[in-house]
Each structure stands twice: as C-alpha cells, then as structure tokens.
Symmetry: C2
Subunit: 311 residues, 2 copies
C-alpha cells in the first residue's frame, strides 16, 4: 500500500506538500500534476486510520440496537446512514442481542474504536450508567426518554397514541380486550402498554388479557394462539413483528377481532379482515436522530434536545 511518503519520494516533493494538496489547499499547478501522476501510478489511497490518529476524529458513528433483523431497526438505520454519509461519517453497527448488559459492552467496544458518536435504540438501563459508558461522547437515544435529561432523543408519543387508539376500540363497544405487549424492558413496549391500560381504566375494565414476552414473529404467533381461546373482541399489538405473528394465527381462525397493530400498514391490506394501523414515521425518526447527533458532535455544549414526534 502506497503512502504519502512514497508519493513524496516519487515526486521529490515534501511530505507536507502532498498532505496539503490532498486536503484541498493551494499548490502550484505543476506540483499538483506531479502528485496526481504519482497517485495514479501507485494507486494511492489515503489512510484514514492514520488521519484519525492525528485529528482525533474517526468519522464513524456507532448505532447500537437490540436486534438488527427488525423492521424498525433496519429502516431507522437506513435513514441514519443516509444522512450521516452525506457528512462523511460511516456507520458501524452493533447488535446487542436484546441484552442490556451486552449493550453496555458494545458501547465500550465502540468507545475503543474511537467513534465520534452513538445512536442507541436502548434497552432498560439507567441514564447514569449510560452516561458513564459513553463517557461524555455524543449519544442520541431513539425511542426512549431517560429519567434524566442527559441525552438528546427522538421518540413518538407512544403513550398518547396507544391510549387514543385503544379508546377508539372501547368507544366501539369492545369490552373483552387484550394486548400483546412485548418485553417489559423495552421502553416503547411499556409506554404503549401504559397507554392501553389508561384507556381501559377510564372504561372501568380491569380484566384485560395481557401477553408479554419477546418482540418477534414467533412470540406474536404464540401469544395469539393463546388469546384465540379468550373470545376477544379487541386486541392491541405493540410492534410489527408481533403483529405478523399474531396475524398468522388469526388468519387460521374464524374469529373476528378488532385489531390495532403498530407499524403494520403493509400487512393490514393482506388480510381480508380489517385491522387498524398505527404508523410511525420511521424515516423521519432516523433522520432526526442523525441530525441531533450531527448537531451535538459539532457543538457538544448545546442544550439537550428531546424531540417528540406526534402521530
């Protein structure tokens, strides 16, 4: 691999001159030509590791998620990457396998890699631990507001929208109602469940059928299988994967249940029995997160910003 030094030797120019040219500073036309020839000849590419070493910036951002193979994660990551790459940043990903402990480990690892910032789709941990793990590096949270306003974040109004939609169901006369709620250590799942429960409280319903557990297709399927014995009139499902799974079981049955699903817009039209969808503006969430991160990396002392997108 050719280095700047090789170029220096070939052209007879100083090492500093080459570097300056490479960084867009003015050099004489003739030197420019010499350098370019040497680059073409050697196939030189700049070593950004060495560059990072000197500048103290790696131009990398770590995105840490509970699970990569999840519709929400991947669409968020896609939009984050799209925005960040325009600013010269690369995205390094880390799947913490749904474990909060692991999440902290991954953060540590990324810190070693000298990433310039983090985006987290966080699992339940305290703000302090997270703060400590990030050791002051810019970190943006998606889908989770921590107790303390330590971090920039972007969320949707999970609680309100869940409350509102559940209420709609109840206003339609639904009484025997259930929820497939997802994990209890995932913030959004908890918020959605709370919103659901608030609506029930208002209507004096105390005996909802609650299924908690994982957040993927199979969990949804199993939960639905159980719920199909309950002659439900209404059902709230907390994410896309759970909805797919639940609908699989549902499709096999002949019951009619009024279903509300999160992010399930694509699926709703597949099944002949209507379901209600709550759609998050996922691209917008990712873009906003990237934007917040860019802002903070530019100005670490700026005020913490907690963006809530109302849907």
């Amino acid at each position: 691999m050719a280095t700047i030094k090789d170029l220096s030797e070939i052209t007879g120019l100083g090492i500093g001159t080459i570097s300056r040219y490479l960084n867009g500073y003015n050099v004489k036309e003739k030197t420019k030509d010499k350098i370019e020839t040497a680059i073409a000849q050697t196939g030189y590419v700049r070593n950004s590791v060495a560059r990072s070493m000197k500048t103290g910036k790696s131009m990398m951002v770590a995105v840490i998620v509970p699970h990569l193979a999840n519709m929400f994660s991947m669409r968020v990551i896609e939009s984050i990457e799209r925005v960040l790459e325009r600013h010269g940043y690369s995205v390094i990903i880390s799947d913490c396998g749904g474990s909060a402990e692991n999440q902290l480990n991954k953060l540590e690892l990324m810190k070693q890699r000298m990433v310039d910032g983090f985006v987290l789709l966080p699992l339940a941990v305290s703000g302090k631990r997270l703060m400590q793990a990030a050791s002051g590096k810019p970190l943006v949270l998606i889908d989770r507001l921590l107790d303390v306003n330590l971090f920039d974040s972007v969320t949707v109004n999970n609680f309100e929208v869940s409350y509102r939609e559940t209420k709609q169901l109840l206003l339609q006369g639904v009484r025997r109602i259930g929820i497939i709620a997802g994990p209890h250590d995932v913030y959004t799942a908890v918020e959605r469940k709370k919103g659901f429960e608030k609506a029930l409280d208002e209507f004096g319903i105390a005996d909802a059928y609650i299924e908690t557990g994982g957040y993927n297709v199979e969990d949804g399927f199993k939960a639905m299988k159980r719920l199909l014995n309950r002659s439900l009139e209404g059902l709230f499902i907390s994410n896309y994967e759970l909805t797919i799974g639940a609908l699989q079981a549902y499709a096999q049955s002949s019951q009619t249940i009024k279903i509300i699903g999160f992010d399930s817009i694509e699926l709703s039209s597949l099944i002949n029995r209507t379901i209600t969808c709550i759609s998050q503006p996922i691209e917008q969430i990712g873009e906003k997160a990237a934007e917040l991160l860019l802002n903070r990396m530019k100005d670490p002392s700026r005020r913490v910003e907690n963006v809530v997108i109302n849907i």
Copy 2:
C-alpha cells in the same frame, strides 16, 4: 482521554510494560495491581485506532448492500455480525442505494478506512472492476457468482429452484402465467427469471407476463395491479418485498392465482388463499459468508471457494 502514557506516569512503570499487560502477557502481580488501579482511576480505554495504525489491521469488515431496508440484507447482516464479532471484528455498513457506480465508491471509501475485508451483496459490475476496487483485500460475494472465479462466494441455487417451482405450477395445468422479476441488474433476480423462463420454454409457453423494475413493496404492488388485468392463473414473485406489495393488491381482488413467492413464508399464512414459498436459509448464508471471509483474512492465498446452498 487517558492514554497508556498517563498510566505509565501514574504507575511509574514503563510504557512497554503497560502495553504488555494490556495484551495479556505476564507481568508481576504487583505491577498488575498498580496498572489496574491506574486504569480504574483514569477510566482508561485502549485506543484501537492507534493500535490499528501499528498492527496494520483495523479489525473492521465492511458490508456493502444495495439497500439496507430489505429483509434479506438485514438478516444477512445480522448473522454476519454475530459471527464476526466473536472474532473481534466490527461491521461497518454501507448502503449504495441500488447504484453499481455508488457501490464502487463505497468500496473505495471503506478501503480508506482500512477495513480488513468486504462482504458484498453486489450489483452488476465486472469481476475485474471489483477486483481492482478491492485491490486485493479479502472480499466475499453473497448471492452472486462472477464470471471469473476471483472471489469467494455464497449463493443459493436460484436458477434451479425457480425452474423447479415454476415447473410445478405448469404441471398443475397453469398456462396463463406471469412473473414479477425485479431489477435486471440484480443477479438473483436475473437467475430466478431465467429459471422461470426455462420451465416455460419446456412447456412451449411464449407469452408470459413479465414485470421488471424495482425490488421493493411499492414496485410489487404496482406490478400486481397491472397483472390483475391479465386473468393470470399463476405468478412467480422474485423477492420478499415484491411479494408483500403484490399480495396487498391481490388481497383486494377476488381472483385466484397460484402464487410462488421468495422468502415469503411469514406472509403466506396471512392471506387466506394459499401461496407457495421458496425460503432461503438466510442465517446460514450470512454465517457461511462470514466464515469464508474469516478464512481468507487468515490465509489470503487459499483456494477460492464458491459455496452453493441448495434449497
């Protein structure tokens, strides 16, 4: 940020000793204690950028895909990451937006970042250009065999399985048949189309309804809308996203079409009219790719290996 030098000053030990301890070599119990105290005290974390600089290995692997927000990409990336992280590698991702040109740019960028290897879900480019762009760095192809055996690769038998399943349809008496084929510069899409066409040839069918274009949900929906005017008896759909889109349109219609979909196992049970699924072992594909890459990074001169997974 504390450095190894700080530790050296605090402990009074030499810089080399610290480094040795950090790398797991033997040091006296007492020195070990001193160092550990200093680490705890300063919150020292090793700077892997500096380390890479010296060792010439970044311990990063770039995964470049046409689109991140794609079920296949994401699940492949997930399994790649799972395998690689066990070996100390991080995954840096790059979405080339479906453009072959862009793909080469991204490769260049990743080369600058001194990644130790590449995994590509490649768009149509010649093997030579790719070889040149990778400049000899380990590169594994997923879902594409290049004309020359320059790269390790892992694919499924797209052609055969498509041929076989289409033939099944025809054996059932289907004659008016169509395909939603996806982009013509995506290898798998092309292979699947070829397999489809071979089956048609055998049955002397010359006028299939062919829809080509994008590879996402909306493309599938639009294509299906058009195809619903054709009174088809059978339909082959080349990937997951297209299948979702097509099924959306299909669900609204009252036609009955025998449908074959790729990777659409989760969806098949949603819709009350049966569809046939061709399921790729996506995790296995990712794992195999990671494995091939690890092997090549270990031994760059080993024989090129082209793995075909038969489904």
